[in-house]
Amino acid sequence: MYRMRLGFLAGVALLAGCAGPGVYQPPVEDRSGSAPPPRVERGTGVTVTPVYDEPVISRQRLEGDAGLSVQPLSPPDDSPASIPTPEAAAPASNNPAVVALLDSARQQQASGSLGAAQSSLERAQRIAPRDPQVYYQLAELQRQMQKYDEAEQLARRGVAVAGGQPDALRRLWLLIANIRKDAGDLNGARDALEQARRY
């Protein structure tokens, strides 16, 4: 199942590669037994289900090889003042309910109904608590309310669930850079930009 999804994802990534920000279906590290583990552990030794180290890495390579378009990030002068804003078109979640809620949240935020936007995002989070985009938008909303501390924490929570999803990680670190810049922390913004560049 997991492998099938990987294959599917790889395919989607290939297709989406040139289209922009791409897909970020969570390639979570699956410790579950729902998929055959890649290797068998023996003896009295490992009895914790293995962690899929290689698959994640190979997936990252795969995406890279597939030419997933990562926008050139580094502004020439490396100044946080010119942090690129992540593309307006956010990656799509695969759950229609979450897509609908994230869309409503965007509209509500744009029309100034920040409370309603927050509610929509929290509904989305309850349905897909490991979807980095949910945290991205939650953080963006706090940023708009100038609650920079909360905003950064939410974005970092997003980073914590986005492991193995370079596109999502890049976007989240760019957001953190922007939050820090807004909060007046230029050095911090530069560090975040540096992090974003890793993906």
Partner: protein, 782 residues
């Protein structure tokens, strides 16, 4: 009263007597008397006028002001419906029952559901949520296995819909009056007719009092030879209940009539009738007085008044006369007679047809069991909600302003937690007999990703409104503290493979005592790798480790994990001498489950006023206090606890792919039995013990873990899936020596390390690689 005033006035006129007496003494006496009477009359009229004006003011003030103290309403989480949602049909059914839906052959209106083998047709009621209006919809739901696979309405597929939230409780004023206000226009057909027919036939014709009504009542009473009918109009009854005290004094009786007339002067019949519908007393639920037809409908039928049918409306109207005498739950025969009387009056007055009469009279009472009502089912959870509300709101606002409180309580999860607690502890008590007499327990269930508090159980009697053990039982947490100890050690440079001495500890304390902990099996295990010391919950190894890094580091870690209380850095803390409540433990484990982000337990999502305007919001908030990488390491070790350590029992009942991470806890002399653990979307903390703190024959794994496992078995949670942080690498090490090993070497184990901290030195496999054992794998994942 009038007498007193009259005599008080006497000195006045008699004082002036002297002057008039000189002119005409004889005539003056009569004229003085006349003058006095005239003045008396005038004075009395003025008093009467003032009194009337005062009454009038009172009548108007109260009628136009805020008429009733409205208790705050507390709602559970609304059930979301979306394709792909894990939702069993039975769970949906339970939710709908809680909402008072009727299960019918063909759903034709709001509050009705149609059940088929894998499909449900559902006519929702709609609800005004603070973030938007959820319309009433005619939904078609398809199920596949335990999943909701498709949601449709007449216009096609829907990405999502949500049901109205279950009302789970209220916060009542001191009078304990509870009511749901309704408008006259919301009253179901026949309610007004039935009420007027049985209580006050000339309601639309009289001016507040009805001489005809009084005469008829007297006639009936004389004929019967006793008091069977009162002549009070609905207006008078409203005055009596709404304005006047309950004591039956003559003064009150005298005020009733003028006030009724005044009320009729100012307000229309419909306004008076609407107030009556909301004021009337309809029953008693413990200390809570049920007022008004809106709440009466919920209390007796478990559904909104708009959805009542003729026979139910008639029953409610009949109850007005004597809610206790005609109580349909305690005296169903009397209630039915009364209901049928109301129905026959409706028929007699031509308001229903003979066929309707026959049909309605043939129906049962259809009253719901009071136990099946959601109110009163969640005392421990509401306790937490109230405590949080009291931090931000005044008590009188909570009980009078009709606030709406939206919580995270999940009735489905709550029911499973209750069942697991009650059934498992019953089994334990049966098994251990007298030794487990007086066993108590409590439980907290959350969604570790969002911090939502889903269920809270305060004792084995889950409806008991008293001592809330989930919040107030302060008990030694035993080994539940160990993940914090090991996490602190990992931060100080230890790795999961670090060798730890599991050897006797003797520590002389400043006060002269000697601290000499022991392992549960009274054995020392020599040098063990750190991960195993946690998995097997070795006390001696933990004591060595904790003393090495310093107890203050552990205290600091507990605070970073979310513990708010002050604690002392004494050595016994390392083995869980510290006391905590289950809710405090849940907060700590939540941070462990959420990758090192403090995610405070959240019961209340939002509070709005009676009109749905937001008053306060408790948004999702996180704060990272422990590095993601370190938490990844401890999560590995906490999974090992369940795979091969003290909590193995869990996998004898649960699917192997859940990747449970948790920890058992047993306090000294087995006075407390704990288990705290999480899967992908559920975290639960279970405590078992006795209120008198007596020793028990059960440990964390033979007690609390059973309840926890039973709950998860019912809950079907999602597996815990980790993402590997960038700075973590997995390396094969030799379990015995902690040296780097190979994938196919005997005794090798793959362990996570912070990049650069894995052992450098390797061990020779002996050139004897073991072949993959497919059989073993099959067993493991069965």
């Amino acid at each position: 009263m009038t007498k007193k005033r009259a005599s008080a006035k006497k000195p006045g006129p008699s004082g002036r007597k002297g002057k008039t007496a000189r002119k005409a003494p004889r005539r003056s006496f009569r004229s003085a008397l006349f003058g006095f009477l005239l003045k008396l009359t005038l004075v009395l009229s003025v008093f009467a006028a003032i009194g009337l004006a005062y009454l009038d003011m009172q009548v108007r003030d109260k009628f136009e002001g805020k008429r009733w103290a409205l208790p705050a309403k507390v709602y559970g989480r609304p059930l979301e419906l979306y394709p792909g949602q894990p939702l069993a049909m039975d769970d949906l059914k339970a939710e709908l029952k809680g909402l008072g839906y009727r299960f019918v052959k063909s759903a034709s209106g709001p509050g009705q559901a149609e059940w088929a083998s894998s499909r449900v047709r559902l006519h929702t009621r709609g609800f005004v949520f603070p973030d938007g209006y959820e319309p009433s919809r005619d939904l078609l739901l398809d199920f596949r296995g335990g999943t909701l696979s498709r949601v449709r309405d007449a216009s096609g597929n829907l990405p999502l819909a949500r049901l109205e939230p279950v009302l789970v409780g209220g916060i009542y004023p001191n009078s304990n009056e509870d009511r749901d206000l309704i408008r006259l226009s919301e009253a179901p057909p026949y309610l007004a007719e039935a009420l007027i027919g049985i209580e006050d036939r000339s309601f639309y014709d009289h001016h507040g009092i009805s001489l005809k009504g009084i005469a008829r009542a007297m006639w009936v009473n004389i004929q019967a030879g006793r008091f069977v009918q009162g002549g009070s109009t609905l207006t008078q009854q409203l005055i009596k209940n709404f304005y006047l005290t309950a004591d039956r004094t003559l003064a009150r009786k005298l005020l009733e009539v003028p006030m009724a007339v005044l009320l009729e002067l100012h307000y229309s019949k419909d306004e008076i009738l609407e107030a009556y519908l909301n004021e009337v007393y309809l029953g008693q639920s413990g200390a809570r007085a049920i007022h008004g037809f809106g709440l009466g409908s919920q209390y007796y039928f478990g559904r909104p008044i708009q959805e009542l049918q003729l026979h139910q409306v008639a029953l409610l109207a009949g109850l007005v006369k004597g809610p206790s005498y005609f109580d349909p739950r305690r005296h169903p025969e009397r209630a039915k007679q009364r209901r049928d009387l109301v129905l026959s009056i409706l028929a007699e007055r031509g308001q229903i047809t003979p066929q309707q009469l026959a049909e309605a009279q043939a129906r049962g009472l259809d009253v719901v069991q009071s136990k099946s009502l959601q109110k009163g089912a969640y005392p421990a959870y509401l306790d937490l909600v109230k405590r949080q509300l009291r931090e931000d709101y005044r008590e009188e606002d909570l009980s009078s302003e009709g606030l709406r409180v939206f919580t995270s309580l999940d009735p489905i999860v709550h029911r499973r937690a209750e069942e697991a607690m009650v059934e498992t502890t019953d089994q334990l008590v049966k098994r251990y007999g007298k030794k487990l007499e007086g066993l108590q327990g409590s439980m907290v269930v959350t969604d570790p990703q969002t911090g939502d508090a889903l269920a809270i159980i305060g004792g084995r009697d889950t409806r008991f409104q008293g001592f809330n053990r989930a919040l107030d039982a302060d008990r030694s947490i035993g080994s539940l503290v160990k993940p914090a100890v090991y996490l602190a050690a990992l931060e100080q440079g230890y790795t999961l493979a670090s060798p730890i001495e599991d050897e006797p500890v003797r520590l002389k304390l400043p006060n002269g005592d000697v601290w000499a902990p022991d392992n549960f099996d009274h054995q020392a295990h020599g040098v063990v790798p750190l991960h195993r010391a946690l998995a097997k919950s070795y006390n001696l190894a933990t004591a060595h480790l904790g003393l090495d890094i310093g107890v203050d580091k552990v205290v600091d870690m507990l605070h970073r994990l979310g513990l708010e209380r002050d604690i002392n850095a004494y050595p016994a803390l390392l083995l869980g001498g510290q006391t905590m409540s289950p809710v405090e433990v849940a907060n700590i484990y939540q941070t462990l489950a959420a990758n090192g982000f403090q995610t405070p337990l959240r019961a209340i999502r939002m509070v709005t006023d009676a009109d749905g305007q937001e008053l306060s919001r408790y948004p999702f908030k996180v704060r990272q206090t422990v590095p993601v990488e370190l938490v990844h390491l401890i999560q590995y070790a906490m999974q090992e606890v369940v795979r091969e350590g003290t909590a193995r029992y869990a996998y004898s009942q649960l699917p192997a792919d859940l990747n449970i991470a948790g920890k058992t806890g047993t306090s000294n002399n087995q006075r407390d039995s704990w288990f705290a653990g999480f899967t992908g979307n559920r975290l639960a903390v279970v405590w078992l013990g006795r209120d008198d703190n007596a020793p028990m024959p059960i440990t964390g794994s033979s007690g609390a873990l059973r309840v926890w496992t039973d709950f998860m078995r019912r809950e079907h949670p999602q597996p815990y899936l980790a993402t590997r942080p960038d700075d973590i690498e997995y390396v094969w090490v030799d379990d015995a020596t902690g040296l780097r090993s190979g994938q196919y070497c005997d005794g090798a184990r793959q362990l996570p390390f912070l990049v650069g901290t894995a052992p450098q030195q390797g061990i020779d496999c002996g050139g004897n690689p073991v072949q993959q054992s497919v059989d073993w794998f099959r067993n493991w994942f069965r």
